[in-house]
């Protein structure tokens, strides 16, 4: 399984990729929405972890883009702003999960298992 972490914070990317590697998931990183979409198209992933507030293109836009293009890839949206949950809910479906920062890794793992249990 391959996952893409899109976050403008290097240490968050590092934390998530270390964790995912520990759980046997190959992890890739992108620093903003543009790079995220580019990498997504180039490599294809089984899971996306998106931060909402990023410099160039934010997480919700990335989610909207890939859904418009027909990809049903599971997406986890993370943010430090809990009130943005409602915004995420508007564009969400059963393959989208919302997590507020700070993210508990055990919780994250539960969510990942939940989103990917039926396979893609």
């Amino acid at each position: 399984m391959k996952a893409l972490i899109v976050d403008d914070e290097p240490s968050i990317r590092y934390l998530f990729s270390e964790f995912l590697k520990l759980k046997g998931i190959e992890a890739d990183e992108a620093i903003d929405g543009f790079e995220g979409i580019k990498k997504f198209h180039e490599n294809g992933y089984d899971l996306l972890i998106l931060d909402i507030k990023m410099g160039e293109k934010h997480g919700i836009e990335v989610l909207e883009d890939i859904r418009r293009q027909g990809y049903k890839t599971p997406v986890i949206v993370c943010t430090a702003y809990k009130h943005l949950k409602e915004d995420v809910m508007i564009v969400s479906d059963e393959k989208v999960a919302f997590m507020s920062k700070p993210v508990d890794l055990q919780e994250l793992w539960k969510v990942i298992k939940d989103l990917t249990k039926n396979g893609n």
Partner: protein, 527 residues
């Protein structure tokens, strides 16, 4: 008031009268004395004059007050006429033109009392003149055959009439002017009285002895409403003593905030005759000012909150996550350490939640909320929490209250107040909650058995970042106040040191649009 005191030239008039009389005496003295015997001192005329001078001095200095009486004045005119006549007769100058001395007496009478004196004086003068002419040895009444002598009598009357009339006209003019002045003064007085009585600030004036000489209705109302006058008067006296005008505000016994402006009461010559104190109750304004400060504070917090949320949560997440990674990768029994890191990271996260909460703008969410239900919910979730499990919380619902608002936010209000009460007490915490209704408001009384709040801190506990609790962020009660304000509610605190604290939440009851069933409970405490 003395009627005569109103006369414009009162004292001047009498002095004028006296001067006139000196003039009269001097003239008579000079003319008759000289005429009969040159400058010899012992002629009868001189003797009469000396007697008359003494008589005048006595009147001036002994019977000054009698000069104000018409009857006394009339007596004096009469004596004057006699004096003039005797002087003329003894000097043998009755056939001379000395009769003009009668004019002086007539003039005096006119100046003093107008026609009503001058005409009688003229009549008496005429009679005496005719009489002493008749007594005259050589010519007697035959003098009157000459029309120039006879003509003198109408002249006396003409003089009396003209001068008396002139005086009466002047008097009337003065009276009219006085009346006008009085009316103007009355109008002005009324105007100033209206101004003083209409001012909403209390006005109190004291004299130099410190006695109150004037208060306006607003001041009287303040005193009637139970405001202590002592510090106000004390302030004015200090201003008077130190010769400084100042503005000050202070808290009065009943807790109201007053401002006092002192100024000196000066007369037209600039002399200080007393002091004026202007007192206003500015409690409401101060409250509004505090509210404004409070909301400014919140606006500032709002900006900060957004920054904190993002900038702290990310590194915090990394710290927390990394500690979890360490835990996962190591099996050296470091679980306890990692738990501590996680616990503290969560605590920071809780604080961020509070800050965001307080900075959150009212979203206008309106749902029908049953306060008793919310309260039961809060209590049961508190009981699930290990921290509050051993506390004794009892709820008494007299009447269910239904309000309109955000259920989740109201939950937070009660959760914050109750958990605060328990945390501050620690062990053996007891919380008693009562829900009841009064008129259009729902009341929730939450009483704890904690150490109470010092009186000087009661007002501050709702300010953000103010905390009396060890380890408290000072946001819990600030959030409470904010949420209640959003719901058009209020919170009041009653507390004394050592006696616990009672928090009274007041919320406007939802106005039912149809007939809603009101649920009544038996009103006993239940666990």
């Amino acid at each position: 008031m003395d009627k005569r005191a109103n006369r414009v030239w009162e004292i001047g008039e009498i002095d004028f009268f006296i001067i006139f009389r000196w003039l009269l005496i001097l003239l008579v003295l000079f003319l008759t004395g000289y005429n009969s015997a040159g400058w010899s001192r012992f002629t009868l005329s001189y003797k009469i004059a000396v007697i008359y001078v003494v008589f005048n001095v006595v009147i001036r200095f002994k019977f000054f007050n009698f000069l104000k009486k018409d009857s006394f004045l009339f007596l004096i005119y009469f004596f004057d006429i006699i004096f003039v006549s005797v002087a003329l007769y003894t000097s043998g100058g009755i056939d001379q033109t000395f009769y003009v001395f009668y004019f002086l007496t007539i003039l005096m009478a006119s100046i003093n009392s107008g026609l009503k004196s001058s005409i009688p004086v003229a009549i008496i003068s005429s009679f005496i003149y005719i009489w002493i002419t008749g007594l005259s040895k050589d010519l007697g009444f035959s003098l009157f055959r000459d029309p120039s002598y006879l003509m003198r009598i109408p002249f006396l009357f003409l003089m009396a009439f003209m001068s008396g009339l002139w005086k009466d006209i002047m008097d009337r003019k003065i009276k009219t002017k006085e009346k006008e002045n009085k009316e103007t003064i009355k109008k002005l007085k009324g105007f100033y009285e209206n101004v003083i009585n209409s001012v909403t600030s209390g006005i109190v004036v004291i004299n130099n002895k410190g006695e109150i000489i004037l208060t306006n209705p607003s001041y009287n109302k303040l005193i009637r409403d139970g405001i202590d006058a002592e510090p106000i008067l004390e302030g004015i006296k200090i201003s008077q003593k130190k010769r400084v005008e100042f503005t000050t505000s202070f808290k009065e016994k009943s807790g109201r905030i007053l401002t006092l402006i002192t100024s000196f009461l000066k007369d037209s010559g600039g002399r200080i005759n007393g002091s004026i104190g202007i007192v206003s109750d500015i409690t409401k304004e101060k409250e509004m000012e505090t509210e404004l400060e409070h909301s400014k504070h919140l606006a500032y917090l709002g900006k900060m909150a957004s920054f904190i949320a993002h900038e702290i949560r990310n590194p915090l997440g990394v710290i927390r996550g990394m500690s979890q990674l360490i835990e996962m990768k190591s099996n050296d029994g470091i679980d306890g350490y990692v738990d501590k890191i996680k616990e503290n990271a969560d605590r920071i996260d809780g604080i961020i939640d509070d800050i965001l909460d307080i900075a959150k703008r009212e979203d206008g969410k309106k749902e029908i909320v049953n306060i008793a239900e919310v309260m039961r919910d809060v209590i049961s979730s508190l009981r699930e929490n290990e921290k509050y499990r051993n506390s004794d919380i009892k709820l008494k619902v007299d009447e269910e209250i239904i309000v309109e608002g955000d259920k989740e936010r109201l939950r937070r209000v009660f959760n914050n107040i109750i958990s605060n009460g328990i945390e501050i007490k620690g062990e053996d915490a007891e919380v008693r909650i009562a829900i009841y209704k009064e008129k259009e408001n729902g009341y929730v009384d939450i009483k704890d058995n904690g150490p109470g709040i010092p009186e000087d801190k009661v007002e501050k506990i709702f300010e953000p970042f103010f905390s009396t609790k060890e380890g408290g962020t000072g946001l819990g009660l600030a959030i409470v106040k904010k949420i209640l304000t959003e719901h058009k509610g209020k919170i009041k605190v009653f507390s004394r040191l050592g006696e616990g604290a009672l928090f009274r939440v007041i919320l406007p009851i939802r106005k039912s649009k149809g007939k809603e069933k009101e649920v009544q409970n038996e009103g006993t405490y239940s666990r």
